[in-house]
Amino acid sequence: MPMDGGIGASTKRREDIRFLTGNGRYTDDINLRGQAYVHFLRSDVAHGRIKGIDTNAAEAMPGVIRIFTSKDFESAGGLPCGWQVTDLHGQPMQEPKHPVLADGKVRHVGDPICGVVAETLEQARDAAEAIVVDIEELPPVVDMRAALEDGSVKVHDDLTSNLCYEWGFVEENRQAVNEAFEKAAHVVSCDLINNRLCANPMEARVAIGDYDPWNEQHTLYTTSQNPHVIRLLMGAFVLGIPEHKLRVVAPDVGGGFGSKIYHYAEEAFCTYAAKVLRQPVKWTSTRSEAFLSDAHARDHISKIELALDVEHNFLAIRSTTLANMGAYLSTFAPSIPTWLHGTLMAGPYKTPLVYVNVKAIFTNTVAVDAYRGAGRPEATFQLERVIDKAARELDVDPVELRRKNFIKPDQFPYQTPVALEYDSGNFHATMDKMLEIADYANLDKRVEESRKKGKLRGFGISQYIEACGIAPSNLVGQLGARAGLYETATVRVNATGSISVLTGCHSHGQGHETSFPQIVADMIGIDASQIDLVHGDTANTPMGMGTYGSRSIAVGGSALVKATGKIIDKARKIAAHLLEAAPEDIELKDGKFSVAGTDRSVDWAEVTLAAYVPHNYPLESMEPGLEETAFYDPNNFTFPSGCYGCEVEVDPETGKVEVVAFSAADDFGVVINPMIVEGQVHGGLAQGIGQALTESCVYDENGQLLSGSFMDYTMPRADDLPVFRIDNSCATACTHNPLGAKGCGEAGAIGSPPAVVNAVIDALQRAGHSHVAHIDMPLTPARVWSAMQK
């Protein structure tokens, strides 16, 4: 049994109390004295040249303070891209400038043209209506294939084409892969689309800029997953504000899922305008604006091919993808279809040869970047779809085809042909467990029962492996990252023994305020209620990289283990002094330091008090105080893995798909708080099922977003989802971090879409629709019904 509040305990979340009573403090809940409001006038066309902006009438309207245009940002830098990909010719990607306000051209619907600042939001909105923008409309390029054609309209006039880069991985293996395909006994291929998504955290983005002339200090309150990254990017690259004059605060944040990683124009605008106007400037995104200005995600067109020998061993994988970047490069956009996608293309299988080719393309749509999973869902979708298709074409059991090709438990560490070295995993175990909790053995009976009701039942499997805690910094630097990827923790022990943990990670739903103290409580043996977590404010936390990519426990938690270890080392020396014993003879158990083999001991609080009131203290050999910081830079990724099973019923009359059961057996390594981990899986599964069945960002040929509200962009509701069956018992510890933890935030969204699609195809095939080999997501009733009619 884990200790209550320690590692492995399902400790209830302390942050829940404020959220359940209306006492959360989200960015929009903050109102500063004398604040003004900004409303952005955004482009309503996808592509056009700005011939003139007339703000005269608007400026005369009630309450208007100032109207900003691109002229006001001439001395500012563009919004920076944080990852430079090198193409297959060794050349850097094409990197266009991304101005804070549209400069010369508008490049997508929603591109901000003017920032109207007024005393009230209503006045700002009213005034924006009076601005006359003379735009010469240009034909937009929305379709990725059209964007690559010779003579296509260019999104950026100063680039040679709409191709950001063509990436080949591993380029040296290309020929060998092609040869393997030529010699293969079987080749199975699948053309598929990974549908464009919008993360849609329930809290839309908010930014409040403030400037204090007293200490020449800028403050930005923002809905961010990584306030230190925003401080660095905005301060150094956009506004030229040194870090010690810039504070970024991300208070309670209502979900992120990746979309709040990036540095957005509105943040720079509010920070800058607040100084110019000498008053706080607040922007609150409406949901309609969020659809037009938040980074979208996925949007890949891919061809995946699998070569097999006569015994159905996988010989080679070839993947070709067109990846939409949108009109500008969002902060981490170039890394998603490359290093977070190509490196996962071996999956959990021992395929000796893999080649991945990606063309990243500019279009007149809003920027595309990471969203829960980021590249790994796209890789998993390709693999698990083509393997399912192969099983059907070769008439073999999809379970057995996977099992036969799995990397075996005794083959770890396993070097894949796409750069990664998997440290641990047991794919056979998670598959067996999933089949057990899904009651796969009795599937045929359930199919028959559904048939009697007039429903088509099917079962789909998806086995995934993913990579979290992207690192080490020096390696990712070589791959083009313009940031480090360590994490930090400061453990500040107070005189009476309570502890403040300061972290560079950020919690926006993950429950860090509960789980991080569990680690410290466990290591020292004191009650977790004595430990608080401080996060989300660059003024009082160490420089860290924030929360995304399922990295917080694996990387931030490991930093915390290191910092706590330093605390314990020093506390042990203080205890040894107090007990007049040698440090190596001191044992720490349940918050008590004792001399081994004796009954002499001192409590935690006696040691901490001695550190701060050092009357009886070895001052000649040790500084007083008890506060330690650690930076942890992992030497490898972590590799969560697992097996998902989706069971669906399809209504043959309407094509409507109902997910009747979903079973997940995951390997997250060591789990700190099982309750929180299960909740993370539930949420990931819901988003993956949403992608598979209902969600899609749709632009028309004019570049107008057709799915711009919750009425058109349909996320799962409570009655769209089943009870989830979750199991975490097949854990294999991460071998290279001190916790053994792998990360759990994205797995659900990575592994589930192919399970759903495979299940629907299975249901249709079982019912005799043998021509239906693939349906593109989202599997709406119309698409499923149409597929059945052919």
Binding site: L20, D252, G509, M675, R717, A718, D719
Partner: protein, 163 residues
């Protein structure tokens, strides 16, 4: 602008409002009750649900002036004055029915209205009732569990999480 009065969480309150001021904005900006959240602009997400004269309503779909004189309960008025959580709030914590917390006020207010009229709902009834509240974090699994548990029903059949 004119002065609008109502009883919010048992207290007589009044604040200035325009004809176009929504109840959600009146609560948040006029009264500083920021527990009621705005998650969309089309009446879809339910983060702004409050009770007006005992009925659950989306406060972004109601003009403040239209509910002048009404009894309004927001998430701030649900726990006991000493801070003790209601049975439903406690069930949300016990069963991990919230993550980022943004949809939570609306979820709690919607679920409370359900339990007031249907004290022992089935799982299907809970899911159907919560259709107007979007949660992006939990997949609803633990929300459904929390509501069932708050109604005094066994939830062991709803998965193994956090018993």
């Amino acid at each position: 602008m004119s002065r609008v009065s109502m009883v919010v969480n048992g207290r007589e309150v009044s604040a200035e409002a325009e004809g176009r001021t929504l109840l959600s904005a009146f609560l948040r900006e006029g009264l500083g009750l920021t527990g009621t959240h705005i998650g969309c602009d089309t009446g879809q997400c339910g983060a702004c649900v409050v009770h007006v004269n005992g009925e659950a309503v989306k406060s972004c779909n109601v003009l403040a002036m239209d509910v002048a004189g009404a009894k309004v309960t927001t998430i701030e008025g649900v726990a006991a004055p000493d801070g003790t959580l209601s049975t439903l709030q406690q069930a949300f914590q016990d069963h991990h029915g919230l993550q980022c917390g943004f949809c939570t006020p609306g979820m709690v207010m919607s679920a409370a209205a359900l339990l007031a009229e249907n004290p022992k709902p089935t799982e299907a009834e809970v899911r159907h009732h919560l259709e107007g509240n979007i949660c992006r974090c939990t997949g609803y699994h633990n929300i459904v569990k929390a509501v069932m548990a708050a109604s005094g029903q066994a939830v062991s059949s709803l998965g193994v999480a956090a018993e």
